[in-house]
Amino acid sequence: MTQIAKTLWTQKDLLGLRDLSVAEIELILDTAKSFSEVSQREVKKVPVLRGKTVVNLFLEPSTRTRVSFELAEKRLSADSIGMASSGSSMTKGESLWDTVANIEALKVDIIVMRHGSSGAPHRVSNYTKCGIVNAGDGINEHPTQALLDMFTLREIKGKIKGLKVVFVGDILHSRVARSNVWGLTKLGAEVVICGPKTLIPWGIEELGVKVIHDVKKAIDGADAVTLLRIQMERQNETLFPSIREYASTFGMNTDLFKYAKPDAILMHPGPVNRGVEIESALADSSQSYILKQVTNGIAVRMAVLYLLSGAMKNEK
């Protein structure tokens, strides 16, 4: 048997898919495949991260990602604690840097961090020896979500190269879309972006994606369609007339979804706003893999934490 050169994980952090090589992305996906079996066991726990401490620093609301990370940490036998901005000394005026410095002084190995400002984890990474996992930074990246989307795609379709993957919705405010664009284009998928002109970031074509504003044309022959929520909380100006008008033009329903391939899969990173970007019946149909994505998220996060725990730099 010929030995294929193995990729080893050497990075301290996972900040985004922008910084990863194809081999590194594939290493995470392959490792996640091995970890997916753990959650099906009677004893859903393995002792790989025994003695490691993880802090989940969520400075922005989250349910799915936070619970998913916490379960991943527990199933790896890591000790984990959650921290939110409310209830912490950050409300007393402590800066993010001081908060992180204190977490490091408590001998924590990995910080899983969500922050409302793009680039916050990248900045923090420079100041700490702890490994940083970006769990979403502003409108920049959400790498583990994109990785679990890619994992789900690969699981159902058997490959990623050559697939047509379409994103419909609020691309402008979507860190999920950005991470997916970086990752999917690296792995050779054809990525199409669709949404109202005001919700498409200017110049996104430069990342190697196609922008089509007509939903029917955009999803024509698609292998997978990911719907994205309108992020009202990030909009402080009027970018489209009304939610109702958005729903009637870009909302996905069973009839519209027929323009995609017959075996196309429907994905959504959540939270789902039924009746807005997606018709309720379609969200619950057999073509919808929304809950499968949630299940896969744990395996992907277990893989990321496992790989990072080995590469932690103890010297700055």
């Binding site: 048997m1 193995k6 050497t10 091995s34 726990k45 790989v48 496992y306």
Partner: protein, 182 residues
């Protein structure tokens, strides 16, 4: 410097050893109906599959075979450095009440088997776990002993014992190399 390899088992030797182990497993009369084989990645898996063939030839009974990757249970994972690759574990049957024959190629320090035992317990509570190895080379670091041994090979710590199997290496043999020998 690598010294020349010395063959300790050839193709026929491995074949005969596996046939004997299959008979020894049946001689124990622990209940063929509850028997299950679990191979430790990589070569233990192929040895388990071969044992299954031999057992079903004798007893006409389909014995389930599972695959175990012990990486997640290794005792050296906390050491700093890139993590080893993890492969899939596939045990498609319930271990509860089973007579599990754990199969590996070489028994050395015993640390792999310790990890495998911990892993197996997480899949259920077998009635018994027995250990079958193709080669026992000694130098145990843990109180672990094999129930079925293909060949006992006295070695020095500098020796390397290599098992080659058709499924992965194109040929069947067990060789020893590396140490000082006359």
């Amino acid at each position: 410097m690598t010294s020349p390899e010395k063959q300790i088992l050839d193709e026929g030797g491995i074949e005969r050893v596996l046939a004997r182990i299959a008979h020894e497993i049946l001689e124990r009369k622990e209940g063929i109906a509850n028997l299950a084989l679990i191979g430790i990645r990589t070569r233990g898996v192929f040895l388990a599959q071969r044992l299954q063939k031999k057992l079903s030839e004798i007893e006409k009974n389909e014995i389930p075979v599972g695959i175990l990757d012990i990486t997640l249970y290794r005792d050296d994972l906390s050491e700093v450095g890139p993590k080893p690759e993890i492969h899939e574990t596939d045990i498609p049957f319930n271990l509860k009440g089973k007579v599990v024959i754990l199969v590996d190629d070489v028994l050395y320090t015993g640390r792999t088997i310790r990890a495998a035992l911990d892993a197996l317990i997480d899949f259920g509570r077998p009635k018994v776990i027995r250990l079958a190895v193709l080669v026992d080379r000694g130098h145990r670091e843990l109180p672990i002993k094999a129930d079925y041994v293909g060949k006992n090979v006295p070695t020095s710590l500098q020796d390397r014992v290599t098992i080659r199997l058709k499924e992965t290496d194109g040929q069947d043999e067990a060789v020893i190399s590396g140490g000082t020998r006359t």
